[in-house]
Amino acid sequence: MNIVVPIHDMRSDALPSISEAGPAPKRIVVAYGFWIFLLSDIVMFGALFAGYAVLVNATAGGPNGAALFNQVTVAIETACLLASSYTCGLMSLAINARHRAATYFWALVTFVLGAAFLALEIREFAHMIASGAAPQRSAFLSAFFTLVGCHGLHVTGGLVWLAVMMAQVAARGFRPAVERRLRCFSLFWHALDIIWVGLFSVVYLMGVAA
């Protein structure tokens, strides 16, 4: 494994350059395209984060984050989403191994954890709106509901996508197109968890600590 190959040898015959190797397989092109979409999605969340950070003190006499946020709920939400990201990883390993029962099992666990996250978030929103902290109360609350709600909508979309993918696995099996979509789904789900890391740190914990 530790053979030192002179540079000219590598260039002449060992590793063809990208232009000589021909087009990349569709599996890589699709995942790379989806990766670029995810990065554009993250840029959009960056803009929403910027809006929130600018407006965080514009409470217009209304309640601020420290008065509204319940850290226990946030901790449970974080645990649900982190665990579902982990089980999503185990699901992609089951897909690699072509293990259908394990795929269904980990998909179900991922779905239940994601749905639990969403239920907690909806309950939190309903509680806030019922106590008078609705989006129209202040610029801070508008920015809060836009940012956190946008992430919640992404999670909802991810749950629908996961259910559709399981139906496709059931109906069509692990054919290449289905496998590519499953790989895109796991990218999406892991990216949502990365955005949630920013959310619970910037919105909730900084809001409580301030």
Partner: protein, 131 residues
Amino acid sequence: MTATYCDRAPGEPSTLAEREAQGHPSAFVYTIGLVLAVILTATSFWVANTFLLWGPGVPLGLAVLAIAQMGVHLVFFLHITTGPDNTNNVLALAFGVLIVTVVVAGSLWIMANLSDNMMPPPELMNLHMQH
């Protein structure tokens, strides 16, 4: 040296040959990531609630912990590495990070500057009233 050069798709776990060479089952990679993420999350919650730390430093500490945890997720869950087969993925990520940094830091800077300039200090207001 018979393998042809090929990029790796983002999120693609290591190949079977690599895993056997490392001697780990690849669920192990996800488990390391989970453990690190749990530690960092727990630290974040502790930092936000403790009275042992200097208050104004807490947001900076939370930001550092969040960035560290995002890195853990990228490496252990999305399998972004520094290897040559990942160059395209890393470059796209670097561009995304650049845009996010410009948007967030630029917005905060401009809006802080604007709100400083929008509200004249009291002595200036008095000067204005005397005309």
